[in-house]
Amino acid sequence: MHIIDRYAYNNRIRNVEPAHKASLSLMVLLLCLMLNKPLVGLVAAGWMFLLAVGLAGIPARTFGRVLLAETTFLILTTIGVAFSISTRDPGSITDWAWQLGPFWFSSSPDSLYYGLVLVTRALGCASAMNFLALTTPLVDLVDLFRRWRVPPLLIDLMTVIYRFIFVLLESLDRMYMAQDSRLGYHSYRRGMISAGLLGSRLFIDAYQRSQRLQIALESRGYTSELRTLPSRYKDDRTVLWVSVAVAVSLLLVWAVGNWVIGNWIIV
């Protein structure tokens, strides 16, 4: 979490208008979902990687790490999609079947292809969102939500939650270290008791902080809304032009895969 936040505040396109970055990411996300072809997903992931590393100056390792954060889910679920288990002989549907006791494990070219579509689509979409996450800090996104007329109540909640995630996380780390250094987590039982204490203390900490913040804000004339000056952004259209290029290339890849090579082939 700290890693993503650090690069979000400190990259080469930090000051680019967040609407441009968000529309690039959302567009790639939508195109990947709508076109739904393995090659489109791969090209999208490649584009986002290039842009994050080349344009924004995010280290390649960091981008890869963030992208791999959900590999376990991806691998497990794709295995679930690509293989079926049944108690009947699946011979009528596919030849790729293995018997193990009373169960039949089977797969088919179709399910494997679908698994491939899923992995590449998820990679393309995830890298598009990670590009946004790594180049745009949450304050800019909240600023964007405000311009998109998200209700001020939600904006306020988001602002306060964002701030206090880090404050409470620091509390949590300190308390955890204090407990851990006193062998608070040396066994399952002890660990549970320590975690329970930690959770309740954290609640009290959060509660009292909210009361203090309330007093501090009220004494400064807080009545309904947290108002801040809107940020100023650079007048730079690079990301917009890049978006057009990305959209055109994704559509081209899709069209080539569809009409020239034919639907049956793997791309």
């Binding site: 700290h2 009947r88 549907i93 949450l138 206090f164 975690a195 609640f203 509660y207």
Partner: protein, 253 residues
């Protein structure tokens, strides 16, 4: 493919898997604890469907929160802190029954403290933050994930709370609520996956059992651990935080 090549590929695969595990454990906060459906994993139709299903609950939750704040403006910041608390609680490492450690979802405790509609809103904001700050879950799957974690879990838990209140010891109902909230998140996500990816052989049911089996290994121990943890937190709160609980309107507990 030659034997050597096969071994090489095997190593590569093992290395990639280890890497992902290492990434997951290197940052206690970045571990993938919950069953969020990954960005782009659901087909467009299902992604839109779950957004549409979740929408009325979001509106209802928003109306509830606005009413609450209209009556008691001083709760505005407390709700923000509650959101931060629920988010950070999910970063807490707890020992799991299987020996590894896992992370609680915090929705059970959140429901007891703040009610299901407030948790629906706070949980959805937390999901947006997890997508943007942790790269978990996503925007296209926000509807589905929010339905399973922030809406169905808390609603089931709240129903159970109303049903059981006063009939069985408080600790038992607190355990059951946290346990069931976790479990219903797991069941809901499994259902969503099975609906989107029915099995070519056995259809929806076969697919449901398949996904349920895959995730049972991590999710059921997690639900038990979270149940125990929530009881411990709740007991500690009753002795340490009586004043705060009273101000939240939980004095009847």
């Amino acid at each position: 493919m030659s034997f050597i090549k096969r071994i090489r590929w095997g190593w590569l695969l093992a290395a990639a898997m280890l890497l992902s595990v290492r990434v997951a454990w290197a940052y206690p906060i970045a571990a993938p604890p919950k069953m969020h459906i990954m960005e782009g994993f659901l087909p467009l139709g299902w992604a839109v469907f779950w957004w549409v299903v979740a929408l009325p609950f979001w509106v209802l939750g928003f109306i509830q929160v606005r009413k609450l704040i209209g009556e008691r403006p001083e709760l505005r910041l407390l709700l923000g802190l509650a959101g931060g608390f629920v988010f950070v609680l999910s970063a807490l490492k707890i020992p799991s029954v299987t020996g590894s450690s896992s992370h609680p979802t915090g929705t059970g405790l959140g429901t007891i403290l703040f009610g299901p509609f407030v948790v629906a809103i706070l949980g959805t904001i937390a999901l947006v933050f997890q997508a943007v700050l942790l790269a978990h879950g996503g925007i296209s799957t926000l509807g589905a994930n929010s339905m399973s974690m922030a809406i169905s879990g808390p609603l089931v838990a709240y129903g159970l709370w109303l049903l059981l209140k006063g009939k069985i010891p408080t600790w038992l109902s607190v355990f059951l609520i946290a346990f069931v909230a976790d479990l219903s998140t797991y069941i809901m996500t499994t259902t969503q996956l099975a609906l989107a990816f029915p099995d070519p052989m056995g259809g929806f049911m076969a697919s449901w059992l398949k996904f349920a089996g895959i995730f049972a290994v991590t999710q059921i121990p997690l639900a038990i651990s979270e149940g125990i943890l929530t009881v411990l937190i709740f007991n500690a709160l009753q002795t340490n935080a009586t004043i705060e609980l009273k101000q939240l309107g939980l004095q009847e507990v």
